[in-house]
Structures are given as structure tokens and as C-alpha cells.
């Protein structure tokens, strides 16, 4: 949508095409976020016993839609849009966008198919679709298409990098493109698990196989399920490292260490999934312990990221003559939603990350597993830091990609703070309810007036209040995002959403960090090492197959 003049260079033309593709991804994610938020709010009301959902919108059906749309669709579309932008902006060249558009259309087709099936009530299996709950085959087809579409986006990023390296021998892959490609490689390694699970589920849902090895399907799901979390986080980190410092004239703390952090995440995100299955029968305690250790490993790149981001704040503040903690905090541009969104997200990520360490703690997980604590945890991680970062970045991305002025910037600013307050209230209430034992994924927790269950109710009211604030703030976001497009006010100066340059004091980037093919192989080997034992044991147990069932 950037105006292309007849004298535009091939690079500018490539950017314009890439911008439209990226913008389409971002607007799709915005729409999905709006629908998902509406469903989420209705669940909050329903669970707090404020409303009774009509049968066509029953709690579990809406919960499935909310989980699939938020966890799998909103996040994925935003990240693929962001990474398309990262690649096309920093490695511009004349190259067909066909693969990118094929990817987008495949993702969209998969999303539409899955959503329709869920809303028809033929796939009330929640976003984890645990067998032997048996959904319509179209649910599994749609989910597979969504994943295959992302593989096209990954192939597009990788192809861009290969051509760039050929044309610019000796130079480093630009940092944003490096981050995008590394993350997409991690995503491909991780989604191998869910695609393998689909190869079990699809023939079974079509009635071609009599039953399903439930333990194996769960293990394949969680092989994918935890790196999915890191996929979201890496999308947010990409913004924190490269885009947030630009909002206050700061710089990337260190190009080399940023690459080290992303390579660590590529290597360590996948060999960890069994920590979601601590309470599963059929998996020996030793394998569970092994995954506790590897999961702790992923904490290290997060520590590095926390350091690098806050260092970029402090260094920029010092250059502006501000010294000390409070002076730095006051100096930062809290009035700019593009900064405030991600920065408030970072604040939420502190309790979010600490909660994650608790969940991963092997024996301690028993106290929180499948309680509302877990729901609180992923709302204060993906629902907070990730969503708030993506929303904040959208306020920079949408104008930059469309060449339009941001509509109602004050509403945008109020939006990120409203979201922050709402999410803090909601997730605190959820964590608390979980500690008291309130289960997750349950439409009504009164349990025939049981005394213990009565203590959970006030906290559900708190969650509903916080959730309402979040839903209102998402409505504000939709107004700003849609308004920007519809109002169509061109700015005199083309709005830019620049990547921050690297600090000139930082060290040289060693060429080995750019050897993405080699790192991809190591990532795959680590994943195989962590899973070869559990998976062969699972298959070797010759578990009885379970027939499929529709219990909704």
C-alpha cells in the first residue's frame, strides 16, 4: 500500500509488495484477536455464573474457539506477518512473492475450515484436541493446512537468506532477518511433532484405523506444544531486541549476543515438552526429570534477553544525560504506545517467567497442574507480554506498512494501559483460584454447593472483571487498527518503523553464528536425543488402542 512511483528501484518495489503481504497478515491477526477476545469475555462471565450460555454457544465450544483462535491463529498470523516484514525490509530484492501469498492463503483456508467446524459444534475438543475425543476430520485437515501454510512462510524466509548470502558474500545476515529465519526454523522443527500426530489422527478420524495410541499422540502433541510457546516468545523478543530501542533512539545492545540468544532458543525450545506431561501415566519418572533439566536450560536465553533489553534502555538514557534507575524509567517514552505496549508486556513477563519456573519444577507441578493457576500463567505470558507486544508493535507496523497516519493515537495509548491493568487483575485472580484447587477447563465449578468449591467463586468474579477490561481494550485496538485504514490519512512524512542499529561499542559478530543450516541440524539432533527414549518406550509398550468418542 506504499505509494510506488514509476522511478522506484527494484528494492523499493520488493518492499512495497512485501509490505502488502505483511500488512495482510497483521490485519488478519487483528480480526482474529477481536473474535477470540469476545469469546474469552463470554467464558469469563459464564464461569463466574453471571450468564448462562445458550446451547449453540456452549462453554466448551467457545473455549475451543477461543483457544484455537488465540493460541494458534492470532499469534501465528502476527508472527508470520512480522517476519515477512523483517525479511523484505532488510533484504530487499526483486523476488516473486508467490510463495509468501501461497503460505498466507493456505493458513487462511486452514483457519476458516477449522473455525467453521468448531462453531458448528463438530470439534469441541479444546485446542489440545486430546484423543480419543474425536472431532470431524475437517478440524484436523484445517489445523494441518494452517501449519503447512507457515512452512511456506518459513521456506520464503530461508530462500531470501540463501539469495542474500549469495549476493552479499562475506556480510552478515541482517539481524531482523536472522531472527525471523532462526525462529521459523525452530517452528518447522517443532511442528514436525504435530504433523506426525495428524498422520495418526486423520486416518483415525476418517474411520480407516480402529483406535489411537493415546499416550503416543499426547507425546507428539507436547513435542510441539511447548516450542509453540517459545515461538510466541521469540516473536515478542524480536520486537524487544530490534524495534523497541528505536522508539527512544536507542540501539541494539549487542548484535552477536542477540544471535546467541536466538540460536539458544532454536536449540533448546524443542527437547522440553514432557514437562507438560509430568502427571501422565506411562512415562517413567526419569524421562520427566530429564525434561525438567532441559527446560531449565531455556531460562538462560531469557536471562540474556532481560539483560540486553534493559541495557539498551540504560545506555540510551545515559547518552541523553540521565543517570540512575528512576531517571532512566522517567526518561523512557511511556506516552508512545509503540514503546508502552511492549514495555508493559516486559513487566508482566517477570511474574510470568517466575511462574513458569514453578510449573516446570517436577514435583511441585502436582499442586498446580490443570488448575486455574495454569490458565493464569499462560494469560500472563502469551496473553500479556506477547499480546501486548504484538498490539504495541501493530501501532508502529500498520502505519509503516500502509503509509497511513495512526488513527486516534490517544485511544491507542489508553488501550495498552487498560489491557495491562485488566490482564494483571485477571491473571492474579486465576493464579489464586488455582492455588485453592479450582480446576481449569470447567464450565461451572460449584460442584453441587461443595464447601471447598465455594472459596473459588469470588476469584472468578475478579477474573471476569479483569477480563472485561481486557476485552474493552481489545475493542479499542480494533477501532484504532480499522480506523487507520478506513480514515486513510496519508502522513506528509512517510511513517517509518525502523529497526534499531547496533551499538557501535559492541563486539564483532562471529561468522559461525550465521551458519543457520548447521544450527538447524543440531536443533533436530537435540530434539531426537530428548525424545528417542520416551517415544521408543511408548511404542514398545504396545499400548491398547482407544476407539474414538464424541462426548459432547
Amino acid at each position: 500500500m506504499t505509494t510506488v512511483t514509476t522511478t522506484a528501484s527494484p528494492a523499493a518495489l520488493s518492499r512495497a509488495g512485501g509490505n502488502l503481504l505483511a500488512l495482510t497478515h497483521v490485519y488478519t491477526s487483528t480480526l482474529v484477536l477481536g473474535i477470540g477476545a469476545l469469546f474469552g469475555m463470554l467464558q469469563g462471565f459464564s464461569r463466574a455464573n453471571l450468564i448462562v450460555m445458550p446451547p449453540a454457544f456452549d462453554y466448551y465450544r467457545m473455549l475451543t474457539a477461543h483457544g484455537v483462535l488465540m493460541a494458534l491463529v492470532f499469534t501465528t498470523f502476527f508472527i508470520t506477518g512480522l517476519f515477512t516484514y523483517c525479511c523484505h525490509e532488510t533484504m530487499p530484492r526483486v523476488r516473486s512473492l508467490t510463495l509468501g501469498w501461497i503460505g498466507y492463503c493456505t493458513m487462511l483456508a486452514g483457519t476458516v475450515m477449522t473455525t467453521i467446524i468448531i462453531l458448528m459444534g463438530d470439534a469441541t475438543v479444546l485446542y489440545t484436541f486430546y484423543a480419543p475425543l474425536k472431532a470431524s476430520p475437517f478440524f484436523y485437515f484445517g489445523a494441518t493446512l494452517l501449519v503447512l501454510g507457515t512452512w511456506c512462510v518459513a521456506a520464503d524466509c530461508i530462500a531470501n537468506v540463501i539469495v542474500y548470502k549469495r549476493q552479499n558474500p562475506g556480510s552478515r545476515i541482517p539481524l531482523p532477518a536472522f531472527i525471523a529465519t532462526t525462529t521459523m526454523i525452530m517452528w518447522v522443527v517443532a511442528t514436525l511433532g504435530v504433523v506426525a500426530e495428524m498422520l495418526l489422527l486423520i486416518p483415525w478420524s476418517l474411520g480407516w484405523t480402529p483406535g489411537i495410541d493415546v499416550g503416543l499422540s499426547r507425546m507428539l502433541f507436547w513435542y510441539f506444544g511447548h516450542p509453540l510457546v517459545y515461538f510466541w516468545i521469540m516473536g515478542a523478543y524480536a520486537i524487544w531486541y530490534t524495534l523497541v530501542p528505536a522508539t527512544f533512539g536507542g540501539k541494539v545492545f549487542s548484535d552477536a549476543l542477540t544471535r546467541v540468544a536466538f540460536i539458544s532458543l532454536l536449540l533448546l525450545s524443542t527437547p522440553v515438552g514432557i514437562h507438560h506431561q509430568y502427571l501422565d501415566p506411562g512415562i517413567a519418572a526419569g524421562w520427566k526429570w530429564l525434561h525438567t533439566v532441559t527446560t531449565y536450560g531455556v531460562v538462560i536465553p531469557s536471562f540474556m534477553t532481560a539483560f540486553a533489553i534493559f541495557a539498551s534502555f540504560e545506555i540510551a538514557a545515559r547518552r541523553a544525560g540521565r543517570h540512575g534507575f528512576l531517571a532512566t524509567v522517567r526518561w523512557l517514552p511511556w506516552g508512545n504506545p509503540v514503546f508502552a505496549g511492549p514495555a508493559l508486556g516486559m513487566l508482566l513477563f517477570i511474574p510470568g517467567g517466575l511462574g513458569g519456573i514453578i510449573n516446570n519444577s517436577y514435583s511441585m507441578d502436582v499442586l498446580v497442574h490443570n488448575t486455574m493457576w495454569i490458565v493464569g500463567h499462560f494469560h500472563i505470558t502469551v496473553g500479556g507480554p506477547v499480546a501486548l507486544t504484538f498490539i504495541g508493535a501493530s501501532y508502529g507496523l500498520i502505519p509503516a506498512l500502509s503509509g497511513r497516519k495512526l488513527y486516534a493515537p490517544r485511544l491507542a495509548l489508553a488501550q495498552v494501559y487498560t489491557f495491562f491493568v485488566g490482564m494483571t487483575i485477571m491473571s492474579t485472580a486465576m493464579h489464586w483460584a488455582g492455588l485453592l484447587g479450582s480446576p481449569r477447563r470447567t464450565s461451572d465449578v460449584s460442584y453441587f454447593g461443595s464447601q471447598g468449591a465455594a472459596t473459588w467463586h469470588p476469584l472468578m468474579l475478579g477474573a471476569a472483571i479483569g477480563g472485561t477490561l481486557v476485552a474493552i481494550s481489545i475493542l479499542m485496538f480494533i477501532i484504532v487498527a480499522t480506523g487507520t485504514y478506513v480514515a486513510n490519512v496519508r502522513s506528509e512524512v512517510p511513517p517509518i518503523f525502523a529497526f534499531a542499529p547496533t551499538d557501535e561499542d559492541a563486539m564483532e559478530t562471529p561468522p559461525v553464528l550465521d551458519r543457520l543450516g548447521r544450527w538447524a541440524v543440531i536443533a533436530l539432533v537435540l530434539a531426537i536425543l530428548a525424545y528417542v527414549g520416551p517415544v521408543t518406550t511408548q511404542i514398545g509398550a504396545h499400548a491398547y488402542l482407544a476407539p474414538g468418542m464424541r462426548t459432547w
Binding site: 501415566p281 506411562g282 531460562v299 541495557a311 502436582v366 470447567t442 471447598g452 491398547y544 462426548t551
Partner: protein
């Protein structure tokens, strides 16, 4: 590669913290046997009603104060629906599913495990205080999941 001094300290702090956590967890696992429920025993989920001991689910006394409880989870109830034990009893629960994935959780105790069709889950707990405990399914299992509950009555 060169690391900034304060960054090095920060990362050492992070790694040391994780090493302490891991040490505590591992010690508790090895010394106190504090490990998550991880029984490895298969069962045909289509023949639960014919497979002993799940053909007669219920409470068995092993010795005074020591019990075994066999549960079958099916949409949307547990069998047995109620058990009665004296305070101070040590109960080992064995649970399996006759249909889909369920959960088996007694809030405010350490009893919490997944119940997977095809497998037998096991978890033990000592009920020190008298009272009526709610036993709930905490994994979504279908449209009646919210009513899937049972009772453990601990008598003084």
C-alpha cells in the same frame, strides 16, 4: 566471545539459581521419593469392566490404616462415588479410564494425576485431617465434565 562483566555476573546468577532449584528437586526425588505419579502399566480401555481389579472398583484395606482404592473414570462419573476412611489413613489410588482422557484431583491435597485410556495411574496420599474431600475430574472430557466428581470422607 567477550561478555560484558555485569552480564557475565547476571548469567552466573541465573545459572546458579537454576542449579540450586535442580539440586533441591533432585534431592527430594531421590531421598524422599518425591516424584510425579509415573506408573507404567497398560490395560485394554475397551475391557476395563472385565479386567481385575477394575471389574470391582472400590476400597480395600491392606492392613490397619493402609488402603488401596481402585477407581474407574467414565463420562461423567467416578466409581466408587464415595469412600470412607479413618483419619491418618494412607491410601494408594489406582485409576483408569473406560473412555476418554480424564483427570483425578483432590484439591488441597497432593493428589493429582492424569487418567489416560490404556494406562493405569497411581498416586498415594495420607489423609491426616478428618473432613469431606471433593474428588474432581480436572481434564475436559465432554459436555458433562463439570459434574464429574466424587467424595472422600475422612472420619475422626
Amino acid at each position: 566471545m567477550h561478555l560484558h562483566r555485569s552480564e557475565r555476573l547476571w548469567i552466573i546468577f541465573g545459572v546458579a539459581m537454576l542449579a540450586v532449584f535442580l539440586g533441591v528437586i533432585t534431592t527430594a526425588a531421590v531421598v524422599d521419593g518425591l516424584v510425579p505419579p509415573s506408573r507404567v502399566q497398560t490395560i485394554d480401555p475397551t475391557k476395563v469392566a472385565q479386567t481385575p481389579p477394575f471389574d470391582h472398583p472400590g476400597l480395600r484395606m491392606v492392613s490397619p490404616g493402609v488402603y488401596e482404592a481402585y477407581y474407574v473414570a467414565r463420562v461423567f462419573s467416578f466409581t466408587p462415588a464415595t469412600i470412607e476412611i479413618p483419619a491418618g489413613a494412607r491410601v494408594t489410588f489406582y485409576v483408569t479410564s473406560g473412555d476418554v482422557e480424564h483427570g483425578f484431583s483432590i484439591p488441597e491435597t497432593g493428589v493429582n494425576t492424569m487418567v489416560t485410556p490404556g494406562w493405569v495411574s497411581s498416586v498415594a496420599h495420607t489423609f491426616a485431617k478428618p473432613g469431606t474431600f471433593l474428588l474432581i475430574c480436572n481434564e475436559y472430557c465432554g459436555s458433562g465434565h463439570q459434574v464429574m466428581a466424587a467424595k472422600v470422607v475422612v472420619k475422626s
